[in-house]
Assembly symmetry: none
Amino acid sequence: MKNKSNRLVTISQLINTHEIHNQEELLMLLTDKGYACTQATLSRDLKFLKVVKIATNDGKYIYTTHVDKKSVKIQDSTSGFVSNGFIGLEFAQKLALIKTVPGYASSLAMVIDMSEPYEFAGTIAGDDTILIIPRDGTTESDIRHRLVLIFPELEDRIRP
Amino acid sequence: MKNKSNRLVTISQLINTHEIHNQEELLMLLTDKGYACTQATLSRDLKFLKVVKIATNDGKYIYTTHVDKKSVKIQDSTSGFVSNGFIGLEFAQKLALIKTVPGYASSLAMVIDMSEPYEFAGTIAGDDTILIIPRDGTTESDIRHRLVLIFPELEDRIRP
DNA sequence: CTTCATAATGCATAAATATACAATTAGAGT
DNA sequence: ACTCTAATTGTATATTTATGCATTATGAAG
C-alpha cells in the first residue's frame, strides 16, 4: 500500500516513545495518527521491524527494538573443570569474595559472568580473588544459592 | 521448587545454543535434559529471564536474550574518545560499577584515575568491569557528576 | 489500456503465549 | 515438629500473535 513505509516509520517512533503492551494498543495509537490497518498487518510489520516484546520490571510486557548480543560463546561443559580452582567463599561489607588457586580467578569469574546472574551487579577478578558486588537487597543466602546453581559440584563448600 | 533455578540456568543455556522457535520446542529440550514442567511455567520463566522472541531473516521466529539498546550502542562518532567501550553505569552497595566492552575496562579506568577525582577513593578494573569505590559521604549524584566531567560525551548515558 | 506479476492487506482462524485460580511446596520463625 | 507466609507450579482458559487463503492494489511491460 502507499502508506506502508510511512506506517513502519511511525510504528518505530511509537515504540521508541510509548510503552506499548500489545498490538491492540499499537493499533489504537496508529489509528490516532491516521493509519488504518488491522492487527494482522501489525504482526507482519513487527516481524519485519524485528521488534520484540520484553518483560518489564513491573510485571508487564512492552514492545522494544532489539540489539543482538555480542556474547562470547564458551561451552559450559568446562564449568565443572574450572571450579577446580575454587578455594573458599567469604563475605565482608555486603560483598562476596571468592578465593581461588592463584591464576584461576579470571576463568572462574568468566563462568560466573556468563550465566549473567541477576543477583550480581558485577564481578572483578584479580589473580586469586574474585570480588562479587551484589545488587542492593540481595542477601548472603541469595548469593550462596546463585553460586550453587553455577557450580553445583561446590555445593558443600558454598553452603553455610 | 528445588529445580527452578537450575531450570532457569538450563533454559538460558539452551537458548544460547539452540534455535528455539516456540515454547513447545523448549519444553521438549528441557524434558530431554530431565526437567519436567509445563508450557505455563516456561512462559513465566521466559518472562523472568527477559527472553524475547525475534524474527529471523529466514522468516521464522527464535528466542534470544535481550540487550538494551542504550547498553550496546558504540557509535563510530565516539571512536576518537577514550570513552569508547563504555556500556553502562550502575550502583550497588554504595559502589559504582562501570560495564565496558571486554578488554576496555583498564584503559577506561586509567583515564578516570589520571584525573584524580576527589570523590573516588580508588578504582579497580577487571576485563569488562570497573569498580569505583567512592569516598565516604559521596552520593550517587556526585559520582555521576564527576564522571560527566571526565567523559562529557557520555553525559546522556551517565545521567539518570 | 490490458495483462501479468508482485506486494500488501483483511478476514478468519490456528497457533502460541500469558495468566487467574487453586493446589502444593519450600522456608523461616517459634 | 508446627504454623505461617511466600513461592512455585499445573490446569484450564483468556489473551495475544501469527498466518493461510482470498482479495485488492501497485507497477511494469507490451
